[in-house]
Amino acid sequence: MSGEAKPILVIGGGIAGITAAVEAAEVGYQVILVEKDAFLGGRVMRSYKYFPKMCPPTCGFEINTRRLRRNSRITVHTLATVEQVSGKAGDFKVKIKKRPRYVTGACSLDDSIAEQLTSERPDDLNLGMGTTKALYYPHDMAFPPLHMLDRDALSESDAQTLTKVAPAGAIDLTMTDEEIEVDVGAIIVATGWRPYDATKLDNLGFGQCENVVTNVMMERIADPRGPTGGKIVRPSDGAPAVNVAFVQCAGSRDENHLPYCSAVCCMASLKQARYLREHNEAARATIFYIDIRTIGRLEKFYYNLLADANVAFVKGKVAKITEDPGSKDLILDVEDTIAGHKPEQKFDMVILATGIVPNTVDVKIPFELEYDEYGFIDGATDVEGIYAAGCAKHPCDVSRAAKESTAAALKAIQCVNRG
């Protein structure tokens, strides 16, 4: 049965894509996993901890990479994008373009080599906060476990240094784009999401006030491997952030921005309030919300936080954030709608809970597909043979993404079996 079946293509190597790939492969099907970045893991690799258990995403990722390592049915292409899709359910022809890594994998590299370089590049894992060397190991749990060379960032002299110090055959600066063509029976789209562009929220001061950051940035700031070494400090002066505001629905549930709810931001902020409190006993968090959406068993997390005297929940949407030019403190215009007043609200730092935008808004799948009004490939509009999972489908958390990618794996299996 599975012996003759065509492989399943999974586009996107985040939590949804990895899950779909390993679940299908463990049943016994061939899977081709395509990821545009140099490493697997996607957005979850940029998270410090998962809610509600406050456990590191790397814990589940270690298991998943072991499942990948153990399973010869999965072919992983990193630095790869799908350029063309033709055919129909059961019989797709797909062109995949692979960007060069310039690191051959013949011999894994040592960070001491990277340290001899001067060229640097913005650290995209840390969302551009901080830099890495042009030759870098993507992250602790990088899979595949290889360095990546940013050729554009590499200076000529560094290129020469590299040829001298790198082990023979480890680096090949002449690598070029590669195009491969594969025949697959079904496609799972797990292209994930990006945060909503906070600069579009012109009233909330992002980009103008130094101490206004987004929730995805906060994940990196709280992470010991992040740009501040895990210290929750204000970007303006590096002072510890003691009095911190969380601004919910920064873009989401807003017809001027994203009319839908991004489903995860409430829990993300509650989790980040925990980071803050665990980091500093004196820290205070104030969460400005419209509705606290801690659904299912997540409700307990909210009640536990509610019991913390240093965490305040204020029902009210923040209308405006301005900066005190001297102290760089932030002043929030917001009504406490239950109390019915708007006391002046001043904070050291503000975290904007920016929402989820499907990556398919920016880059479409090169095949005729239906997208909903927000750019998601909604499950209800699935084309036969192409199945969306995770945030490509709708805003969702890790658990729901894992569930749906498992479901997508079965739909894909049905399709390759028929084909």
Binding site: I15, E23, E26, G28, Y50, K53, C55, C59, E62, I63, N64, L68, R69, R70, N71, S72, A106, C107, S108, D110, D111, Y137, D140, P145, P167, G169, P224, R253, Y260, C261, A263, D291, I292, R293, I295, G296, R297, E299, K300, Y303, I338, G340, D372, F376, D378, G379, T381, P395, V398, S399, K403, S405, T406, A407, A409, L410, K411, I413, Q414, N417
Partner: protein, 757 residues
């Protein structure tokens, strides 16, 4: 087959600069008489290719590669029949210890000794194949939206399905609904439930056999070999009569939910016109109109109270996910009825996640739907035969009251999943009450009966498992075990709870959920047929073997196995059901007689590795600390320690274990006897937010650690010599501190007095 052992030692990655490679080779060739030892420049890419060529040309079947971490190799990097032990000299020695020092060299040599010992002891794996053929058909329990979906989706993938429903009809709750909340863009309009089409699809599918009015009277066996007896649930036939018996491979439990009782301070059950959302749904479905139960008059105004009301926070310790959506939907029913009818919704938080926000907006737009956050404080009859509802802390900033014909309470969802462990405890207590040999025991049993009485007679699956007839449950009675990363995991292999039986969910969520559960069930039968373990050691072909002659029937293994793998006969002899096994080795750790072994992982193998270390005598002042590390988190953390070039300790010697629960304390006493100065156990976090992939392995280890301390006391040793740490995989930076502190402790209390004895 005769062992042909080969050793490859990498010189690249700075290994040759930090270590005396020739001395390492001598350990292999002189101490272990390994006939083939070779240094290689690299053990990846072309280097790996040449290693594999040597393996083939030399006919090696056991290989140690001292180079990079085993976490860098895919399984298929080596020929399948060759047993390979990669030793992470780079990560765990060279990168985290000072180069070219005697102590560092000793670490490397010890690791070579340990893994040579291990590889010598390993036996080739033969995947578990029972005598009977693995059955690949599935049993779906529950004929609601989740069960029907699971059945259809599995059948579409080519699998035979038996579907059991205890009522006379299929469709579950959804069949009782008038309309469904929207399931497709733009998520604004009410939809037909579509349940009739789904039922028709099930009925028409030749691969699905449907049993209605039937329950699972008994499920014996194990994945691939479950023997199911269906019994009549009444509805015409004598209840309990056997309906059918058959074998299946895996189970999807889609037993749905039941509505919760509303909070007590609202007059549900006391006033006729106060009903629950489920009752409103049935009313609209059956009579097409919303009326007042008291007098049958048409209800022109209806108040919906969310969370069954919200002044009592304990009442809704979890959120039932769909009550907000349901009330919005039902408010639209009210509005469809009459253009001047009114619907009020009092909520604490309006929860319409994702694109359901569109549905919320749609309901708000309706002229006659009124929503506010508010705590309902009173519902009482008014003069018009209706009810007046009072709420405080509303968005109007004041206490308000509305007069309505009907009050609908959004009662929550309780999963229809029995707690197998509780039922088991209850049954045990019943037996004790009759057969107990002491009053104290009987008193305990009586307390247990009282404490667990709500579980009495709640059996659903009726599994023939020693640990209870249903899945064990976590908080709130949800039967899953790793709901973030691996949402389908339960603690019974091959049984996948789904839909509202696992946690509250909406219809659309249930369909996706059930499709995934069907995949997991299919995956389980396929992997079981290949003799492989399922998640988290997916693909592992080892399985435990019990040397029964030495079994003392102490029952520890049957009690401690997190997955209920072992049954026992009347005398308490463990009966292995190998296809239930997840290969964590907890039984191996539990067994005082050390009768449990895997071909590549046993008390002997690990014990021998520990003893393979050269322990210097106490005058050298070089302590030896045994680190037993869980290979899922702690062992990778040790790799990361090296990757980040943090300093480890030259005194530690690490053995990875499948799970801390598999640690047999004989290793610790043996280590102490062998002269180690202390033992550090590092496992995953346990407790409510446990991270152990085998659910309670590290917790079991913590219990056993106490026993070990007692044992140490008996040996007249300091109990501080054994420490247990919970470590997350990303907390590698804590390791140097742990090692340093422990070394200081050893310094303080002195070296192991048994050293060299």
């Amino acid at each position: 087959m005769e062992d042909k052992i080969g050793v490859f030692i990498c010189t690249g990655y700075g290994i040759a600069d930090a270590l005396d490679v020739d001395a390492l080779c001598k350990v292999a060739t002189d101490e272990f008489n390994v006939p083939f030892c070779k240094t290689v420049e690299s053990c990846e890419g072309p280097g790996l290719k040449s290693i594999n060529e040597d393996i083939a040309s030399e006919g090696l079947n056991k290989v140690v590669i001292a180079g990079i971490s085993p976490r860098r190799y895919p399984d298929h990097a080596f020929p399948e029949q060759v047993m390979v032990e990669p030793v992470g000299l780079r990560e765990q020695v060279v990168w985290c210890l000072p180069a070219a020092e005697e102590d560092t060299q000793m670490v490397a040599e010890d690791y070579l000794r340990m893994y040579l010992t291990r590889v010598k002891k390993r036996q080739p794996l033969e995947p578990f194949q029972p005598e009977e053929t693995i059955d690949k058909s599935l049993l779906v329990v529950g004929g609601g939206i989740a069960g029907l979906t699971a059945a259809v989706e599995a059948a579409k993938a080519g699998y035979e399905v038996k579907l059991v429903e205890k009522t006379a009809v299929l469709g579950g709750w959804l069949a009782k609904q008038h309309k469904s909340i929207p399931t497709r863009p733009p998520y604004r309009d009410l939809e037909d439930t579509g349940i009739d089409e789904l039922i028709a699809e099930v009925d028409a599918n030749p691969k699905i056999k449907v049993y209605t009015s039937a329950t699972t009277g008994e499920i014996l066996g194990a994945p691939g070999l479950f023997d199911v007896t269906l019994k009549s649930a009444g509805n015409g036939k004598p209840e309990g009569e056997v309906v059918d018996q058959f074998r299946i491979g895996a189970i999807v439990q889609a037993t749905g939910w039941r509505p919760a009782d509303p909070r007590e301070d609202l007059p549900y059950g006391k006033l006729d016109n106060v009903i629950r959302n489920v009752e409103l749904e049935e009313m609209v479905k059956s009579q097409g109109r919303i009326t007042r139960p008291s007098d049958g008059k048409e209800a022109k105004s209806v108040a919906f109270i969310q969370c069954g009301g919200c002044t009592n926070k304990e009442h809704h310790s979890y959120c039932s996910s769909i009550c907000c959506l349901t009330s919005l939907k039902q408010a639209l029913y009210v509005r469809e009825q009459d253009e001047n009818s009114k619907a009020y919704i009092f909520y604490e938080f309006m929860r319409t996640p994702g694109k359901y926000e569109n549905f919320y907006r749609r309901a708000q737009e309706d002229d006659g739907i009124f929503l506010t956050r508010g705590d309902v404080t009173e519902v009482k009859p008014n003069d018009n035969g209706g009810l007046s509802v009072t709420a405080r802390d509303t968005m109007l900033g004041e206490e308000i009251q509305v007069n309505v014909d009907l009050v609908v309470l959004a009662a929550g969802m309780i999963p229809n999943a029995a707690d197998g462990e509780a039922i088991r405890a209850l049954e045990d207590a019943k037996v004790t009450m009759v057969e107990g040999d002491s009053e104290a025991k009987k008193k305990d049993a009586a307390e247990t009966l009282e404490r667990l009485k709500q579980h009495d007679g709640t059996q659903i699956l009726n599994l023939g498992y020693r640990q209870g007839p249903d899945l064990p449950s976590l908080e709130y009675g949800f039967p899953d075990s790793h709901f973030i990363c691996f949402p389908y995991e339960s603690r019974r292999t091959g049984i996948y709870p789904t839909g509202a039986a696992r946690q509250p969910t909406d219809g659309m969520g249930s369909r996706a959920d059930a499709t995934g559960a069907a995949l997991k069930a299919i995956q389980c039968v396929e992997m079981t047929a290949r003799g492989e373990a399922v998640h988290p050691r997916a693909g592992d072909k080892s399985y435990p073997d019990f040397f029964m002659q030495r079994c003392t029937k102490c029952k520890r293994c049957t009690e401690e196995c997190p997955f209920g793998v072992l049954n026992e006969d009347k005398e308490g002899t463990p009966l292995l059901r190998a296809t239930r096994c997840r290969r964590c080795g907890v039984c191996m750790g539990a067994c005082p007689e050390r009768i449990v072994s895997f071909k590549d992982y046993s008390v002997d193998i690990v014990g021998s590795m520990i003893k393979a270390v050269n322990v210097p005598d106490e005058f050298e002042e070089k302590p030896r600390i045994l680190v037993i590390a869980c290979e899922n988190d702690a062992f990778p953390a040790l790799d990361l320690l090296g990757q980040h070039r943090l300093q480890s300790s030259p005194w530690i010697r690490t053995v990875p274990v499948r799970c801390l629960g598999s640690v047999n304390f004989v290793w610790i006493t043996e280590a102490m006897s062998a002269g180690y100065d202390g033992v550090i156990l590092i496992g995953c976090k346990y407790g409510d937010d446990y991270q152990c992939h085998f659910v309670k392995g590290s917790e079991l280890a913590s219990v056993r650690e106490k026993n070990v301390r007692e044992k140490l006391e008996q040996m007249a040793m300091d109990t501080e010599r054994v420490e247990l740490h919970q470590l997350q995989i990303d907390e590698y930076h804590k390791l140097p501190g742990i090692f340093e502190k422990f070394a200081e402790l050893i310094d303080e209390i002195g070296m192991n007095p048994f050293k060299g004895m």
